[in-house]
């Protein structure tokens, strides 16, 4: 079957097997390998992308279901050489080590801040609880997301 999916604002069309998972579609056709695969069972969150602004696990969605939807991946966060505040926060607060969970964490955090610009630490923990990080113990991820929230609040005030 043929699908046409918007990935990071670009329309991607190709013939696929109906069973093709979205995570494989993203990694193969546009070749965006920032979205990772880690578990098969929708537990680890390494594959999180945004679908129409909502964080979703792309290992549990068929590419065929995404026709007409907007998919955003980690590669879309940096715009014109300007990093997204969540990316900056992760660097500032050492919120990544091996980097494998990072794209999913970033897309989850971005979705959280879009919906709730001033989350509490507990709200951050709940938001990222669908994703596993084996390296950081989450403490610095929480700090990084809080940093990004504060950075965005300060930037808004300046405007």
């Amino acid at each position: 079957m043929n699908v046409s999916i918007s990935v990071n604002g670009e329309q991607v069309s190709r013939e696929i097997e109906p069973r093709l998972l979205l995570v494989h579609f993203i990694r193969e056709t546009p070749g965006l390998t920032g979205t990772h695969w880690g578990c098969d069972t929708s537990n680890c969150g390494a594959c999180v992308v945004q679908m129409d602004g909502e964080p979703v696990k792309s290992c549990t969605i068929l590419a065929a279901m995404c026709e007409g939807h907007e998919i955003r991946t980690v590669e879309s966060l940096e715009v014109g050489g300007q990093l997204d505040p969540v990316q900056m926060g992760f660097h500032e607060h050492h919120a990544l080590q091996c980097g494998f969970c990072t794209p999913g964490m970033l897309m989850t955090a971005r979705a959280l801040l879009d919906e709730n610009p001033n989350p509490t630490d507990q709200e951050i923990r709940t938001a990222i609880s669908g994703a596993i990080c084996r390296c950081t113990g989450y403490k610095n991820i929480v700090s990084a997301v809080r940093w990004a929230a504060e950075y965005e609040a300060a930037a808004k005030q300046e405007v």
């Binding site: 537990n43 980097g99 950081t136 113990g137």
Partner: protein, 794 residues
């Protein structure tokens, strides 16, 4: 440095040397531009998939691959028979046992490799697995280590000549049995416990895999593979496949976590290599999560019985008997002379009169492994045991567990201290570190809070663990793996512009080597870390060494980088003396510059010296041009980091659910090169410890079916299970490491499980009479123990 300039840190904290430098490697990872194994695609590449055994123990009657071969996208199906013709049906393990690459005679654990399919794409390769017909004749399975030696137990390793039982090794001993018997005879208190450190799994978020690319024209084998020891792997492939070592190149790009799981050579790797040799094209094999959990290196699985004794309020003796469950093949990862790893560090941080340790190993119908899950070769099991035993003894003596530890610690003036099992601890001030942890925790206040809560029927526990461990294997006079000395190389080249490349043999899986090792060069030579490229992960472009595990990167490779930097500095001094027309001994060093003693204005910067070294100007007599050096570092001893950990838990009296409310970790890992990275390592290890203590376990039913083969059943802590870790530090420099560093990665994983379990027992002992619960302390197990029905040891 590649990080874009719009980050605040780009303007602020940029130490030239040690300090909280932000990581260089982040630039690619935060953009999704890391290159992990599965991101690599080679032209003409095909995909492999492995058919695995559904049985834990069964004879293979027949394998029919004809239907799979008829699949239009299948290129080949490899079985044990095919591998036999290549001499690859069996491979050596790192413990001098053998392991079937593909099962031919029988399968010995559920998930064992039976056939390897090569197809044009991953989906087709997996489809074809269902088209292979294997007839099995099931056999009774052995899944319990204690029952493995029953006289009527089926013999698992009947492939081994003369093997008539399931004993995997002779009994191995350490310490002094007679002296220990005397200590127990003279003791006033003795306590005994059966304690299991259950089987768990490192489960890095990226699973294992390989791309093998054999070029039949040149005989060159290119391997892409995320492993923790690329040079050692290359040597193993040279031995296993009979390929010339210099024609094998292993490239590890970015690795999505390892934690010991990516130390061994797995059958899938050998299949990918054999597949590429047979098919003549690159073959990619990446395991799925179930394959990772069911077949690759597990950790722990130590069944222990121990007694500890005290006299006059002080711990005096320890006895330990261990049955190590090695699974179907003994592929435990440890140095040759240490069949039970470093388990005999089990005397812990205490000045004992005597101790005696016995370990024997058995085969069971479970996956092979015995890798060190963020651990130096069984130290985690040792620390868990001794710290549980000290708490058991404190309960028996009715004394505070910290008081008993304080009275029994090795005193600072006793270092270097030789333990009763033969380790020489380098340095320490244990009581000071314990007091720092008590201060951060507010220990007295916590005990008051606990008493108040107990009066209200609430269950709160405070658990303590104090660990000493030996990391940085190791001295070549004592340690090797498969005959390879556990040393590491470093190669430093300062270019004419004063910028440098340092090549190292250890292999990051997230530890931040590209930053930390640049900082070591910066500290020693004054070259800014952003001007130091750290090269690793490519056997063609890095010196030989044994890789990263057992917290050995900083103790061994870090020392190598310090030493090679100093060699370059010494050479720079000779060149500077010529430049400044003076004698080398008249020069003094400040970071980045040699200057004339007595005339500090007159000097030469390291970049000026580098330019001179490559220029047409004369060099000092008998000195070659250029500014570079290389070393192989042989550590004189292990380093011995230690720490004091305190866990505070709350237990729901109705469900048995344990919440880790606070966790205080005070580590002494000697000098910290990048304290930010050190803190991050500690956070990560603590989270794993929370998992091991409360959630993570690999279990089997009586038929040997693995009950934890996905992340639905193998539970890993999320942000909701982990507390906001509270860290502290003391610094006792390692006396024999050139930088005074000790290594830290595994400490938090080693030290945290006993603190948490001790806290659980502390919460339940007085009110419910609970003396011990084996990990993981799941709600069901805790609740059963609260009802007086603790699950008996397996």
């Amino acid at each position: 440095m590649a990080v874009v300039e719009n980050l605040p840190s780009a303007q602020t904290e940029r130490p030239i040397g040690f300090g909280r430098l932000k990581r260089k490697e982040d630039a690619r990872f935060i953009r999704g531009k890391g290159t992990y194994l599965d991101d690599i695609r080679l032209p003409g590449m095909v995909h492999g998939a492995i058919l695995r055994s559904p049985y834990a123990h069964a004879r293979i009657v027949s394998i029919d691959t004809s239907r799979a071969l008829a699949h239009p996208n299948v290129a080949a199906v490899v079985t044990a028979k095919d591998l036999e013709t290549l001499g690859l049906a069996w491979m050596p393990t790192i413990s001098y046992d053998t392991q079937a690459v593909l099962a031919g005679d029988k399968v010995r654990f559920q998930g064992q490799e039976v056939a390897f399919v090569i197809a044009t794409d991953e989906y087709s390769a997996n489809d074809a697995l269902a088209l292979i017909d294997v007839e099995y004749e099931p056999l009774p399975a052995v899944v319990n280590a204690r029952k493995a030696l029953d006289p009527d137990a089926p013999v698992i390793r009947d492939d081994k000549v003369g093997q008539r039982d399931n004993l995997a090794s002779p009994t191995w001993e350490a310490g002094d049995q007679a002296a220990t018997d005397r200590a127990f005879a003279e003791a006033d208190t003795v306590v005994a416990r059966d304690i299991i450190y259950p089987r768990c799994h490192p489960a890095p978020l990226e699973t294992c895999g390989m791309i093998a690319d054999f070029n039949p024209e040149t005989g060159q084998l290119d391997i892409y593979n995320g492993n923790q020891a690329p040079h050692a792997h290359r040597t193993v492939y040279a031995h296993v496949a009979g390929l010339p070592e210099h024609m094998i190149r292993i490239r590890c790009s970015d690795i999505g976590g390892g934690f010991g799981n990516k130390v061994p050579v797995y059958p899938g790797y050998v299949c990918a290599i054999a597949g590429s040799i047979v098919a003549g094209v690159p073959v990619k094999w990446v395991e799925n999560r179930s394959e990772n959990l069911m077949s690759t290196g597990f950790a722990r699985d130590y069944v222990m019985r121990s007694e500890m004794c005290a006299k006059n309020g002080k711990i005096t003796g320890l006895r330990v008997d261990v049955i190590a469950d090695h699974g179907a093949f003994d592929s435990t990862a440890q140095p040759t002379k240490f069949p039970a790893g470093f388990f005999h560090i089990v005397c812990g941080s205490y000045d004992l009169e005597a101790s005696h340790v016995r370990v024997k190993a058995v085969y069971t119908n479970k996956a092979p492994g015995g890798v060190a899950y963020r651990c130096s070769f069984r130290i985690t099991e040792a620390v868990y045991l001794v710290e549980r035993m000290v708490d058991a003894l404190a309960l028996e003596m009715k004394v505070d567990p910290i008081d008993l530890r304080m009275r029994s610690f090795i005193a600072p003036e006793q270092f270097p201290y030789e333990t009763t099992t033969g380790w020489t601890y380098d340095s320490g001030n244990y009581a000071e570190t314990m007091r720092v942890a008590m201060d951060i925790a507010g220990y007295e206040d916590l005990r008051r809070e606990q008493a108040e809560k107990r009066a209200r029927g609430e269950l709160m526990g405070i658990g303590v663990a104090f660990f000493t461990e030996g990391v940085g294997a190791g001295p070549r006079k004592h340690m090797d793996i498969l005959g390879l000395a556990m040393n590491d190389g470093a190669d430093l080249r300062v270019h004419p512009s004063g910028k440098a490349v340092v090549s190292i043999s250890c292999q990051t899986q997230g530890q931040g080597h590209e930053t930390t090792f640049a900082q070591i060069v910066a500290e020693e030579l004054g070259i800014p870390p952003e001007d130091v490229e750290v090269r690793h992960g490519d056997t063609d472009r890095s010196p030989y060494g044994l890789g990263t595990y057992g917290s050995r990167s900083t103790p061994v490779s870090g020392a190598a980088v310090a030493v090679v930097s100093r060699k370059v500095r010494d050479k720079a001094r000779l060149i500077a003396a010529t430049m400044l027309e003076t004698r080398p001994e008249d020069l003094a060093w400040e970071k980045g510059r040699w200057y004339v003693k007595g005339d500090p204005e007159k000097g030469a910067l390291i970049e000026e010296i580098a330019a001179r070294a490559y220029s047409g100007e004369p060099m000092p007599a008998e000195l070659e041009g250029g500014l570079d050096a290389q070393v192989i570092y042989d550590p004189p001893n292990l380093t011995y980091p230690y720490g004091a950990y305190i866990a505070v838990v709350d237990i729901d009296p109705d469900t048995g659910h344990v919440t880790v409310r606070r966790f205080i970790a005070v580590d002494d890992c000697g000098v910290r090169i990048n304290p930010m990275i050190v803190d991050g390592q500690i956070h990560g290890g603590l989270a794993e410890g929370v998992g091991i203590a409360l959630m993570e376990v690999i279990t089997f039913d009586e038929e040997g079916n693995c009950l934890n083969s996905s992340f639905m059943d193998y539970l890993i802590p999320t942000a909701l299970e982990c507390p906001d870790f509270e860290l502290g530090e003391t610094v006792t420099p390692c006396p024999h490491h050139p930088l005074g560093a000790k290594g830290v990665g595994e400490s938090p994983n080693v030290g945290s499980p006993p603190a948490i379990v001790n806290a659980v027992i502390d919460a339940l002992h007085e009110t419910h009479g609970v003396n011990h619960i084996d990990m993981p302390c799941t709600p069901a197990r805790v609740w059963a123990a609260m009802q007086g029905r603790p699950e008996p040891p397996q």
